[in-house]
């Protein structure tokens, strides 16, 4: 946990209210997200029990599996869910937009918007992934045939769960993650996984402090767990009897009907509080102004969504159970580049996030105290415009000469660090600090004492600028920072990082087991190794 977040958490405890750790929203929120609150049966691997799903807070639809141990009923549930989810997703096929291509490339078409799934917490993302895995290999014909929508649902859920691993992607969000990204509560990150407690810290009901609301949020009677796990007391005292009643033989249809209605009502009461919380969380996040680079990340999500929709339309096979060696290495490379870019983008969008990096010495903010805007570098064959500026800061940057920096307000301009030196102390704060003499080894003096509180030092950083100043040897007006201007520079960079070069699948080297066999989808894919 970084220093600022720790401080914000301490302040949250002291004040009894969660503290914002961002001034901008860093997630995209759809106008019409599909909220999904799933529940599973305890003791069974990913056996769906119920789900409340919908893209409108007033019209959530409750799906219930009256006997989750029965696999036919599980897949009947999957079919129902598929009709809701897939039709929601395919609703976004309706409108497309043209995107201008890059250098020398044609325009391309992508969907104008993309679907967004919101679940309560990361464990629900794992549920989505597992449900996707258990349904994507099923087939609409042959033995154990399922509804044709089920494998399509499986592919989409697998796609969304994979996309959720991608830093900065917002196609599938966990509400607790999205909220905790923007507020520091007065509880531990593990406790933050409880949506009711987390929301209590941020938005307590009238007359309660955040701490009181969070404590109340841990009562499973008023705030049942947000899924996918259910409350064990509910399991023992309510659920077990209702499921047993639903299992009555067919001859007593009315009794069974009554039991199923009672089960529906009991499960509806379990998910309804979470459902309201989810929409409150969405509303809360919508109230924060979005960061400048959020839209660009959502565009990348739209590109990815368009591409996967095209893949499905072309009858692409389901995602393989595991990544092969080259695919795994490629994916890791891709994720790491996305992580670096996401970290940089958040800092550049948000001064409060940048403050964390300033404290860590990876960025500094200061005032331009000198500038040489017309400086030319004539060491090479052609003279180049390379202005110098001096930025004086009270931060303590940990950067070495030669490092490239960028300023969030001038993203097209690179700044190379020429020197970092202590700035002259201003007269009013000047203190006589005697230069420590180097004692010779022969004179053993007592061990050094703990130094006194350090004097607030100022650092002067000399930067050489390149780019973003026009083509002439004289910079365009305003393109070189002027003395008196306040600026922030950071080592974080959001510039394009090329993908690493990897062999193709057939070129998998011997060190990694050689080329894998060609993947042919088969019925066995649906069976799990342990089942």
């Amino acid at each position: 946990m970084s220093t600022l977040t720790s401080l914000a958490r301490a302040q949250a405890v002291a004040t009894g209210t969660a503290q914002p750790v961002c001034t901008r929203r860093h997630v995209h929120l759809s106008d019409r997200p599909l909220v999904l609150v799933p529940l599973v049966l305890a003791g069974e691997a990913n056996a769906p029990l119920a789900a409340l799903v919908g893209d409108d807070s007033r019209t959530g639809r409750l799906l219930v599996v009256s006997q989750p141990r029965n696999r036919d009923r599980r897949f009947a549930f999957a079919a129902e869910l598929a009709h809701i989810v897939v039709s929601y997703i395919e609703g976004y096929y309706a409108s497309a937009q043209a995107v201008p291509g890059g250098r020398g490339q044609d325009d391309r078409i992508r969907f104008a918007d993309a679907p967004q799934l919101v679940v309560p917490n990361p464990a629900c993302i794992a549920f989505v992934r597992m449900l996707g895995r258990s349904t994507r290999f099923r087939r609409p014909s042959g033995e154990y045939a399922v509804d044709p929508a089920v494998p399509v649902l499986g592919r989409w859920l697998s796609y969304f769960a994979e996309r959720a691993e991608h830093p900065g992607s917002c196609l599938l969000l966990a509400a607790t993650d999205a909220v905790a990204l923007h507020w520091a509560s007065g509880q531990s990150p593990v406790e933050d996984l409880n949506l009711a407690a987390l929301m209590g810290w941020i938005d307590p009901p009238a007359g309660m402090t955040g701490a009181q609301a969070a404590a109340a949020g841990e009562d499973p009677v008023t705030w049942p767990p947000a899924g996918p796990a259910t409350d064990p007391t509910f399991d023992n005292e309510v659920l077990a009897q209702l499921i047993a009643a639903c299992d009555l033989p067919d001859d007593d249809a009315r009794a069974r009907q009554r039991a199923e209605t009672a089960l529906q009502a009991a499960l509806a009461a379990q998910v309804a509080p979470t459902w309201r919380l989810m929409w409150r969380a969405v509303g809360l996040l919508r109230g924060i102004p979005p960061g400048g680079r959020v839209a660009a990340r959502w565009d990348a999500d739209k590109d990815s969504f368009t591409s996967y929709a095209g893949y499905l339309r072309d009858d692409g096979p389901p995602q393989p159970r595991r990544d092969a060696a080259v695919a795994a290495a490629l994916r890791l490379n891709w994720l790491e580049r996305a992580q670096a870019s996401y970290t940089a983008q958040r800092a550049m969008d948000d001064p409060l996030v940048m403050a964390e990096h300033r404290l860590a010495g990876e960025a500094f903010a200061g005032t331009v105290t000198a500038a040489e805007p017309g400086r030319l570098d004539s060491s090479g064959k052609r003279r180049k415009l390379r202005p110098l500026i001096t930025v004086t800061t009270e931060d303590s940057p940990r950067i070495d000469p030669g490092v490239m920096l960028v300023s969030p307000s001038r993203p097209g301009q690179q700044a190379r660090v020429i020197s970092v030196s202590a700035a002259p102390v201003q007269p009013e704060s000047a203190q006589a600090v005697p230069p420590p003499a180097a004692p010779s080894p022969a004179t053993a003096v007592p061990a050094t004492a703990v130094p006194a509180v350090p004097v607030r030092s100022r650092v002067a950083v000399v930067l050489e600028l390149a780019g973003g100043m026009g083509r002439a040897l004289v910079p365009e007006p305003g393109s070189v920072p002027e003395p008196g201007e306040r600026l922030c520079y950071t080592t974080l960079t959001d510039s394009y990082q090329p993908a690493g070069s990897f062999p193709d699948r057939a070129g998998t080297p011997w060190t990694h087991g050689g080329p894998p066999p060609e993947y042919v989808p088969a019925d066995e894919d649906a069976s799990e190794a342990w089942s």
């Binding site: 060696a325 053993a444 070069s501």
Partner: protein
């Protein structure tokens, strides 16, 4: 063979080491590039890994074959180039470098070394050396031989990018050092034999179980006082010997202290027994614990003030311990920065760095800010065996560990809680156990700060 004591005689250790190297060379000659394509050499700290790399490269080149040498960082590459050009003068050595890279003076001083950004410019060189990242940009060509140095520091997804360039390979590295890491925290690939987050050697061995693994048995760096501790904690199944006898390494002071204080006591304990634990009162602190930081700086300074002189097989007449021969190791970068700021300006040459950056380096005296000092919890990061192993195995003479009291209790309160995945081999040494083993030894050499 487990943690063998320092009593092993000099000649025996030298013979053992020579035998191990000869075994590696014989096996290397047997590789045919088809059935047998690689060997792995595990090396404890300071066991002559680079010497082996240089010797193997020179022998392959002398036999008229081309060899690509892969290291992980530019400074490792420069170091290897320098050693190779010194060991085999006249042999053409190619140094593959990135575009913006300025060749280091230790490279440019050799006439036989060519620096180029493209392999095409190094066609005449029997030995071409570059970082793994640079080799990954080489898109064609094939070398009959590769030597991969610090292979345990390389991630397997890097190996997959360069493995197409060579037919057979010698992998050399220290299994006790830090594992490679990723900025991404997912367990998507856990259990796969080609998990891209694992080290190159781990993946190589899981996919090619018939590859033979050799061990270098003698540490020439670590003194006899350090070997039993390090071997027991971090190399529990293989162990290794000290290359020097107890009388060969000595640390003495040119001056005696005026009165005594805990700092002097710690410095003297370390000089006499190779280790000391400088224990501050128990307290939970922020990472840059001001008292611990000041203690690290004060201990380093004291060695210089007292005029420490190191007597060793390299300098039987004694060599003064200068700023360049002292290092202070930490777990986090902000701690290193705080210590650097706390050092008096005249101590400027002292290396203060994190475990990651101290890997592969060697000093006379090392002061370690214990990764768990002042912490409230023991996370996987702070428990990692490799981190403590790197920090406590950089010294030729003495190591002082600075810590808040209560680390064994902290360990007892925080057993490892990492999830267990199917099909993932258990990893040894276990960080929790290694930490306990080191602390158990240090407890006996504890000096309490006032």
């Amino acid at each position: 063979m487990t943690a063998a004591g320092p009593a092993a005689g000099h000649a025996t250790a030298a013979e053992l080491a020579a035998g191990a190297v000869a075994g590696v060379m014989t096996d290397l000659a047997r590789l045919d590039g088809r059935g047998q394509r690689g060997i792995v050499v595990d090396s404890p700290p300071g066991a002559g890994k680079s010497t082996l790399v240089v010797r193997a490269a020179a022998e392959i080149a002398a036999a008229g074959e081309q060899v690509m040498v892969v290291a992980q960082t530019n400074s490792q590459v420069d170091d290897l180039v320098d050693r190779l050009a010194t060991a085999a003068p006249g042999m053409a050595v190619g140094r593959l470098s990135a575009q913006a890279h300025q060749p280091a003076p230790q490279v440019t001083r050799h006439a036989a070394v060519t620096v180029a950004q493209q392999v095409g410019g190094l066609a005449g060189c029997p030995v071409v050396i570059g970082t793994a990242a640079k080799w990954a940009t080489v898109s064609d060509g094939s070398w009959p031989w590769a030597i991969i140095d610090e292979a345990y520091q390389m991630r397997s997804d890097m190996l997959i990018r360069i493995a197409g360039r060579f037919q057979r390979a010698l992998f050399v590295g220290d299994p006790g050092q830090l594992d490679p890491f990723s900025t991404i925290d997912i367990d998507r690939w856990a259990g796969l034999t080609w998990d891209p987050m694992q080290s190159a050697v781990a993946v190589l061995l899981r996919n090619n179980p018939d590859i033979s693994t050799h061990r270098l048995p003698v540490s020439w760096r670590l003194p006899g006082t350090a070997v039993p501790v390090i071997a027991e904690a971090f190399y529990p199944f293989t162990g290794f010997l000290a290359g020097t006898g107890p009388a060969e390494r000595r640390l003495e002071f040119a001056t005696s202290a005026l009165g005594t204080g805990p700092v002097d006591e710690a410095v003297q304990t370390a000089a006499a027994s190779g280790w000391a634990l400088y224990e501050l009162p128990a307290r939970q602190t922020v990472r840059t614990d001001r008292e611990a930081v000041a203690a690290c700086a004060a201990l380093a300074e004291r060695f210089l003030q007292r005029g420490a002189v190191a007597y060793s097989e390299r300098a039987p007449g004694g060599a003064p311990v200068t700023v360049g021969r002292i290092a202070i190791g930490t777990a986090h970068r902000d701690q290193a920065r705080a210590i650097r700021a706390a050092l008096n300006p005249w101590l400027d040459g002292i290396t203060v760095d994190t475990a990651n950056r101290l890997q592969g380096r060697e000093y006379d005296v090392v002061i370690v800010l214990h990764p768990l000092s002042g912490r409230r919890d023991a996370t996987a990061f702070h428990l990692e065996a490799g981190r403590l192993c790197v920090l406590t195995s950089r010294h030729r003479h003495a190591c002082i560990v600075v810590a808040r009291a209560g680390i064994p209790e902290l360990l007892d309160a925080h057993p490892s809680t990492e999830p267990v995945h199917l099909n993932v081999p258990a990893k040894f040494p276990d960080g929790w156990e290694a930490n306990q083993a080191v602390m158990a030894h240090l407890e006996r050499l504890r000096v309490r700060a006032l």
